[in-house]
């Protein structure tokens, strides 16, 4: 199950969506909005995406995770729009008969989401400046 949403992420609902009688393990990862990055203070974040490709890529990642590990259920929810500190930007939940696969699949999913899915975050720094986070792009090009 893949979802892009502008609504706050409902962790309980995400967990419920991966519940399975065949599962002995459920792993939930939440990416949350952190206040400090390399000494700089975040006031809030904004997320945007290329919707058609983001949905396609997320679906591909779910399919690949299901190929690699014996998953019962899988859910990825990514939030878009404005986020305050501590709010969750992404939820990845998987269920599996045993925990090794659940941990590995969840880890792989979030790591790969961060590399390949066309979603971008903008830092609204506490000092009033803003910059898009584009790893590998020179800082002056990102604002």
């Amino acid at each position: 199950m893949i979802r892009l949403t502008h609504d706050p992420i409902d962790s309980a609902a995400v967990l419920a969506s991966v519940s399975s009688r065949a599962a002995g393990a459920v792993v939930l990862f939440l990416g949350t909005t952190r206040e400090f990055t390399a000494g700089k203070q975040t006031a809030s974040l904004d997320y945007e995406c290329y919707p058609e490709m983001a949905e396609k890529k997320l679906a591909e990642l779910e399919a690949e995770a299901r190929r690699r590990w014996p998953l019962e259920e899988c859910a990825v929810v990514h939030r878009l729009g404005h986020l305050e500190i501590e709010e969750a930007s992404v939820a990845v939940a998987v269920s599996s008969p045993h925990r090794a696969a659940a941990f590995e699949a969840a880890r792989w999913l979030i790591d790969t989401i961060k590399q390949d899915v066309p979603i971008w975050k903008k830092e609204n720094w506490a000092d009033g400046s803003q910059e898009w986070v584009h790893p590998g792009l020179a800082a002056k090009e990102a604002s």
């Binding site: 990416g31 997320y47 945007e48 995406c49 290329y50 058609e52 490709m53 983001a54 396609k56 890529k57 990514h78 930007s89 992404v90 979030i110 989401i113 961060k114 590399q115 390949d116 899915v117 066309p118 979603i119 971008w120 975050k121 903008k122 898009w132 986070v133 584009h134 790893p135 590998g136 792009l137 020179a138 090009e141 990102a142 604002s143």
Partner: protein
């Protein structure tokens, strides 16, 4: 042919537009698009080396040929998750 390129994040901020139209020869590739963008949009030029290009929602290599009806997008380094 005219190719419409979707712009996101810093690329949209630098140009002030969410898409840009580029005139290219009918047999143009992604490589040709990169060169045309660098020339016609100097604001985008510094971003291009680190920026991937997607055609119809798939990352495309430089040798990929373009068609007029392709959905093309600049994908600056992503930061989701």
């Amino acid at each position: 042919m005219k190719v419409c390129v979707k712009l996101f994040a810093v690329a949209r901020d630098k140009t002030g537009q969410s898409s840009i139209e580029i005139e290219l020869p009918d047999d143009a590739t992604i490589r040709d698009l990169r060169a045309a963008l660098a020339k016609e949009c100097p604001a985008l030029s510094p971003l291009l080396p680190a920026t991937r290009i997607a055609v119809n929602s798939e990352y495309a290599a430089d040798h990929t040929p373009l068609t007029a009806d392709a959905e093309v997008a600049l994908i600056p380094p992503v930061s989701g998750g």
